[in-house]
Symmetry: C2
Subunit: 158 residues, 2 copies
DNA sequence: GGCCATTTAGTTGTGTGCAATTTAATTGTG
DNA sequence: CACAATTAAATTGCACACAACTAAATGGCC
């Protein structure tokens, strides 16, 4: 075997691409790892925690609205919500007004869990080593990126 | 400082937390969506593309090393590599020196696919709307974050 | 009122991610 | 050399994501 790989890597675009998507992918999973450890106490997975955050803020929402907040569809949410229901944190009830819709609402237990969740953000912040302003700046950058990527995805589909 | 009884929480840390993890999670999945569209031509998923990027750069390496580059373990890589092998892009062979190890190497077809992949980074860059320097700055920030999160995860596991 | 397109959840199938376990090979130690 | 500890892959089980599809309910439109 020759020691030199296929192509000259100096201005290697694939290598650059590697860096970009690796970084985001790795950061996302590293974040997931930290949340996994911290959320184990609460009996929640990271995506379940995200759902609970939305419910703690809004109290009660149809699956559709929940999905809009989280950019997730029913294919992901339906089984996840079933697990939260089995855990006794939420109830799912067909809306009386529109029987296509399913209202998701917190149980007393689900509301109570919020108290224990209040410590989570501080621990996450500690793990990042970033301060509030740095986090905010990064967040704005990421939202900008997400917006650009979403519109690009839509344009690419016709 | 007494807190408001019911809904209105302190400085709403949970809401802030929501913003942070939502943003990273959303950006990661938005990125995945763009890659999914672009990579469909090549017959690769996004994680498979990441594996191919490493192989295009290094030519051949054991599963262990591949996992270190991608921070993935054999539980993820084994089935993924089987699919790449079925697709005819890689071969997996037990190392003669150390029979515990499995060497992953590109087939001719796998090497050839690199040519078609060369267009991917440009299309991704276009979709982001960011220029090289912005991407690089974001990447450095994310790597910093990942490093902090990883060491925090390790410290928490004694 | 009757019919059809749309909307909303749910289901199915594929592909990760990761923890935990298993199997086989290698290494370290007495 | 024997044998326990370690290491590398693979396997198993669970939980997302997401595309594609199904089923039920609603809303328009004539």
């Amino acid at each position: 075997m020759t020691t030199t790989p296929a192509a000259a890597p100096t201005t290697d675009w694939l290598r650059l691409d590697q860096q970009i998507c690796f970084s985001l992918n790795a950061a996302s999973r590293a974040f997931g790892g930290v949340y996994r450890v911290i959320l184990k106490d609460l009996g929640l997975t990271y995506p379940q925690y995200l759902v609970m955050l939305v419910l703690w803020e809004h109290g009660e929402l149809p699956v559709k609205k929940l999905g809009e907040h989280l950019r997730l569809d029913s294919g992901t949410l339906s089984p996840l919500l079933k697990r939260l229901e089995t855990a006794g944190l939420v109830r799912r009830e067909r809306s009386a007004r529109d029987e296509r819709s399913v209202e998701v609402r917190l149980t007393d237990e689900g509301v109570a869990l919020r108290e224990r969740a209040l410590q989570v953000p501080r621990r996450i912040m500690g793990a990042t080593g970033f301060d509030i302003d740095e986090i905010r700046a990064l967040r704005e950058r990421l939202d900008e990126l997400t917006g650009a990527l979403d519109s690009a995805t839509l344009e690419q589909q016709p």
